[in-house]
């Protein structure tokens, strides 16, 4: 499928879901308590979490009693405006070095979609005319280096790799070094999956950040936390813990092409101020899109 077709089909999928899935919220009628109960249920089922759900419900209730909205069909647009105002466009920009290579560090728990996201980012930056190099810093998981090198070949970008079990800091350093000496634009660093509760591994991540910074002052320019869209409320803890070890600047919400909604990121933005920058919508190289708050809110209310 071409890019345009994919976009169209994704869009119509969302639209179908929205039309069919709104339940009570899709019917045009006056707002009442049963509508608010339905709204609560929907938000909770989308993993928005009890605290944020309560807050959003309060907002809606306030707007309703204040006369700002009256009909069920006003609710989604209202929430869209509300959420969008919390997610300014600057949120989505990637910070780049004013000169010399920029470094993007990709982190997250096991299996969240880091390696695939690195490949997708490489493709995206490449298509913007940037020269990219990858650093295979997951030296821990079986065959992780192999996996990334397959992607490197498919994207046709250089890759810095050491043996299994090598020091990930050394790999990161060498990747930065290579970028500087070859005059490349972006270093993408894939790291091993780690649970935020594994203190030693979290410290290792901090070390990678420091090593990178030593070689290229100001780096890493972005530290992107990859979250699986199926994740529940534990994502808040994850974001918190990763942030105490590295300077998390944004989130890649992967696997949003499934039935999961990833509603927890609303709370992460609100409580921790960490924005979503990209979403992953498939396993292919082109399946990475900039985050769109309005479409995201729509999807929260879609079934399926």
């Amino acid at each position: 499928m071409g890019l345009f077709d994919r976009f169209k089909s994704a869009l119509s999928k969302t639209r179908d879901k929205v039309a069919s899935g709104l339940g009570l919220l899709g019917l045009r009628k006056k707002i009442d308590e049963s509508v608010l109960a339905e709204l609560e249920h929907t938000l909770l089922a989308a993993d928005v979490g009890p605290a944020m759900t309560a807050k959003m419900l309060e907002d809606v209730r306030g707007a309703w009693t204040g006369g700002e909205i009256q009909e069920t069909t006003d609710i989604v647009p209202f929430l869209k405006r509300k959420v969008a105002s919390n997610w300014p466009a600057e949120d989505r920009e990637l910070k780049m070095a004013p000169s010399g290579p920029s470094v993007l560090l990709i982190a997250g728990i096991n299996g969240s979609g880091k390696t695939t996201s690195v490949a997708k980012l490489a493709r995206r930056l490449q298509s913007q005319g940037k020269k990219v190099i990858l650093g295979a810093c997951d030296t821990f998981r079986a065959a992780a280096i192999e996996q990334l090198s397959v992607w490197a070949k498919r994207c046709d970008v250089p890759l810095v790799r050491h043996k299994d079990g090598a020091d990930p800091g050394a790999v990161a350093y060498e990747a930065c070094d290579a970028a500087v000496s070859r005059g490349l634009d972006v270093v993408l660093i894939d790291t091993a999956g780690r649970l935020h509760t594994q203190d030693n591994l979290m410290r290792e991540l901090g070390k990678i950040q420091r090593v990178v910074n030593k070689r290229i002052p100001g780096a890493p320019h972005e530290v992107l936390l990859v979250l699986d869209a199926t994740i529940g409320q534990n994502a808040i803890r994850q974001a918190e813990m990763f942030r105490t070890h590295v300077n998390v600047t944004g989130i890649i919400l992967a696997k949003l092409d499934g039935s999961a909604k990833g509603g927890v990121v609303v709370g992460i933005r609100e409580m921790l101020g960490v924005p979503v920058k990209f979403i992953g919508v498939g396993e292919g190289l082109d399946d990475l899109e900039p985050f769109d708050p309005a479409a995201f809110v729509d999807a929260l209310f879609a079934t399926g």
Binding site: I109, A142, T230, G232, K255, A260
Partner: protein
């Protein structure tokens, strides 16, 4: 992983205990908070609502308000309801009489299938079976390499076909291969797929049709939110699952999926993955998990852990004594000692009824020195006293204290603790669920009220205890 939930439940029960009179209104009010706690733990909203409703209905039906110890009745109701949510489950693998037993593993991308396949292979090895792994994830780059490396680590053969793109064929050949090499079990590692991906769901259904697996397991990440049940439901519609394996249980997730999956998909959880190492796969037992959620501890796991540190004969003897209520003080201290050597004390203590709750109040400083001190107390007792410590009166107590260099309070503390443990283990071993619950809560309550093991230390060497606790804190801080 259940601290948060169990803390909430305990506050809830404590509050019930504090009330002179319990009304329907205040049960409902407290249950509202329990609902929030469940939702924060990612329990599915429908399951949470039904759970609350059932508990409230049963509580009213049981006339909790008129009983002497309403909180105990509530604990039982909640416990039963939790067990009901998660069970029943037989967490063994039913190996077929004419091998190989074929196990198909499926799941979303990144749920941990490949590692879990290897863990399952290792589990089968532990049961004396010879497994074969089949690399049928032909999608993710280097997935075959990953399985081969894991197979090597375990000494388990891996069937792979690098030039083929058809998982149905690879699985069929894999099963054939298993027959040839006389493997007892063949485990098929399939690619991750979304439940809504029609094409890929058809593919895995085709695999199932072709190889006719005896068991089909769905692998789900324990940190999954509401999508866990959607996934389980959709996979079950296509594959007729036999069970679910929850991975990454060692994270700090509050584990809502544990409570929701069975209820909504109808399929039980069979195993849980509790660490990255290949031996970190555990059988799933609803009653134990319910106990842990309520902070009542997990006596059975505790005993099992202790057992792994002693011989089978010793274990059988101990079990017999426990059932008859003939546990002696020597046994008691022997057990403590073994547990201390066996694994992390804190982990173990959490499994003791009431301890989970106490751990929140203070960092229990039990170490070798305490065991020595307890042993000294026991050694200053006469054989008759050891056999039946209830005969220890004031003058005996003073004598024992003098002999062991402890304070008389320590002697009575130890005795009290021992008697409770003996009662509890007896009840747990032989009695009905109802009685089991009652003694559990009684023990938990008295333990929480002050009859704690740590008390020994607290009263004699309060300062030393504090000092040690601070030191421990320091150490923690430094190791960060």
């Amino acid at each position: 992983m259940f601290e948060a939930l169990s803390d909430r439940f305990n506050t809830f029960f404590n509050r019930l205990r504090g009330r002179g009179r319990i009304t329907e209104a205040n049960i409902t009010e407290v249950m509202k908070e329990v609902r929030t706690a469940l939702l924060e733990a990612d329990v599915h909203v429908e399951v949470a609502d039904r759970f609350i409703e059932n508990v409230v209905t049963k509580a009213i039906g049981a006339e909790v308000m008129n009983t002497l110890h309403p909180e105990q009745v509530m604990v039982k109701i909640v416990h039963d309801e939790l067990v009901q949510l998660m069970g029943p489950v037989d967490s063994r693998i039913p190996f077929v009489s004419s091998p190989p037993t074929i196990i198909l593993m499926a799941g979303l991308q990144g749920s941990g299938k490949t590692t879990t396949c290897a863990k399952l292979a290792r589990y089968c090895q532990g049961k004396g079976k010879k497994p074969l792994l089949v690399a049928a994830d032909l999608k993710r780059p280097a997935a075959i390499d990953q399985l081969e490396i894991l197979g090597q680590q375990l000494g388990v053969p891996v069937h792979a076909e690098r030039d083929h793109q058809n998982p149905v064929r690879v699985c069929r050949n894999g099963v054939e291969q298993a027959r040839k090499i006389l493997a007892d079990v063949v485990i098929l590692d399939t690619a991750g797929r979304l439940a809504i991906d029609e094409e890929l769901m058809q593919e895995v259904a085709k695999v199932a049709q072709t190889v006719q697996p005896h068991q089909i397991y769905l692998v789900i990440d324990a940190m999954t939110g509401h999508d866990a049940v959607n996934t389980a439901k959709s996979f079950n519609e296509r594959l007729e699952l036999d069970g679910v394996i929850l991975t990454k249980f060692d994270s700090d997730t509050r584990g809502g999926a544990v409570l929701s999956v069975k209820q909504i998909s109808g399929k039980p959880i069979k195993f849980i993955g509790v660490g990255e190492k290949l031996d970190r796969l555990e059988e799933f037992h609803p009653d134990r998990i319910a106990g842990r959620i309520l902070g009542m501890g997990d006596i059975v796991s505790l005993v099992e852990k202790a057992q792994s540190a002693q011989s089978a004969a010793e274990a059988a003897e101990l079990q017999r004594k426990m059932e008859k209520g003939q546990l002696t003080l020597d046994d008691f201290i022997g057990q403590m000692d073994k547990m201390l050597k066996g694994s992390s004390m804190k982990e173990l203590l959490k499994m003791i009824p009431g301890m989970g709750r106490m751990m929140g109040e203070m960092d229990l400083g039990i170490d070798d020195a305490d065991i020595r001190r307890m042993r000294a107390i026991v050694e200053s007792m006469t054989p008759r006293e050891r056999k039946d410590p209830r005969i220890i009166d004031g003058s005996r107590r003073r004598r024992i204290a003098r002999g062991s260099g402890a304070a008389p309070d320590d002697v009575s503390g130890l005795v009290k603790q021992f008697l409770q443990a003996r009662d509890v283990t007896k009840a747990m071993a032989g009695m009905s669920m109802r009685d089991r619950m009652r003694s559990l809560t009684q023990f938990a309550n008295t333990a929480a009220a002050g009859g704690k093991i740590g008390k020994i230390k607290e009263s004699t060497t309060k300062k030393a205890f504090r000092h040690q606790r601070d030191r421990r804190k320091d150490r923690k801080r430094r190791s960060r």
